[in-house]
Amino acid sequence: MFLDAPSVERLIEAFRKLPGVGKRSAERYALHLLSAPEEDALFLSEAVRTARERVTTCSICCDLTETDPCALCTASDRDRSTICVVERPAAVMAIEKGGTYRGVYHVLHGALSPLDGIGPDELTVGRLMKRIEAGGVSEVIVATNATAEGEATALYLSRQIGERGIAVSRIAHGVPMGGGLEYADDVTLSHALQGRTRL
């Protein structure tokens, strides 16, 4: 399509590497950037470059951060005896939005997925274990996703951490706030009933 403009082809190829972006979307993004004001395009390129240069993973919790250790790991008002284990940095943001959790986090950067070749060595499980072995942890809350991969990860962590005599809990799964029972699917309802709590 852009045979006389290799730089545009290169830009399209770059967009195609993003998750969920196909050829047509990549072409649309590239053409938009080329027709947008120059400062907008340069702002994007500068934002990508700066983020790549500055963002690293926290040496304690493995979350994305510009300062190591991250703000959550160094905050004086967080309870370091409770670690909430999540799959992705986005889950930390989601829980923080809730504003009720006061412990610290550990980001695994994925979940056990044998079909994708992802085992414990591909995750940050080793760093979590070192953190626990260093002492001062009384509870680990496993907040992995409610999928086969998330459940397998929870079982694996429960086995590994339970051996060290530390309490391991799993977040509850069930009907979302504002959701009507008649619209909930069978699997969610079944989990909600299994995880019921006494009032």
Binding site: G119, A152, P176, D186
Partner: protein, 236 residues
């Protein structure tokens, strides 16, 4: 475009775009069937939760000739294999037969035998009280058999000598080139696998049958299995 209804097993899924997923199923009439599930990752999607790996579902989908990814209309859970998923060893080992099914199934080709063997294998594994490693080996034997790649079976070995196993054709007698020797326990387990299509025979072979069948599957399908890398990482 026609609306079709079928049973299916979820083989794998990948995220697509902001909220969608492309899920690959094994369906009796269509073999390996990939479907786009729009909005599957939205919090209130009714479809997302039932599309978990291993799940046995009833699907309604829209088939269009020449399209490599079809469109899913509806899905209802028939069996979530909860007992299997609640056991770490079973959940990890079951990924190997699931990956074998994914690799031997062909797109748009009826796979009734393969589908039945996979459903039966996963159901049986949920109830199984023995080694998950042995059960996964039995499932792989059954799936390879349904795919027309059954290993050769020799009931009796040469007097005083162990039976061999070739990854090219199965059990090997005297004079035939073999990749490995089978212990008497493993030979017994593999013969029992060949005789038991409906449930895994209770045999203790210290997991040797699994090693034999992984070698056989890798050679026969000329493929790498990601699940084996994770199994090695976790259980060796």
């Amino acid at each position: 475009m026609s609306q079709e209804r079928t049973e299916a097993i979820v083989l794998r899924g990948v995220d697509f775009g902001e909220t969608s997923r492309i899920v690959t199923f094994l369906a009796p009439d269509r073999g390996r069937l990939a479907c786009m599930v729009q909005g599957a990752r939205r919090p209130k999607s009714g479809l997302g939760p039932v599309l978990d790996t291993f799940n046995h579902l009833e699907l309604v989908y829209y088939w269009k000739d020449g399209r490599s990814v079809q469109k899913l209309g509806d899905a209802a859970l028939l069996n979530g294999f909860a007992a299997l998923k609640a056991d770490l060893d079973k959940a990890v080992y079951a990924a190997f037969p699931l990956e074998v099914a994914y690799k031997v199934a062909q797109e748009n080709e009826p796979s009734h035998g393969l589908f039945a063997a996979l459903v039966r294998g996963l159901e049986d594994m949920g109830r199984w009280a023995g080694s998950a490693r042995t059960h996964a080996a039995w499932q792989v034997w059954r799936l390879m058999t349904e795919a027309g790649l059954a290993p050769a079976v020799i009931e009796e070995g040469p007097p005083g000598r162990a039976v061999g196993f070739s990854y090219d054709f199965g059990m090997a007698g005297a004079g035939a080139r073999a990749d490995r020797k089978l212990s008497p326990a493993c030979h017994g387990a593999l013969r029992a696998f060949a005789r038991c299509p409906d449930s895994c025979p209770a045999r203790d072979d210290a997991g040797e049958a699994f090693d034999v069948l992984r070698g056989y599957a890798v050679r026969q399908l000329d493929a790498e299995f990601r699940s084996l890398r994770v199994i090695d990482q976790m259980f060796r």
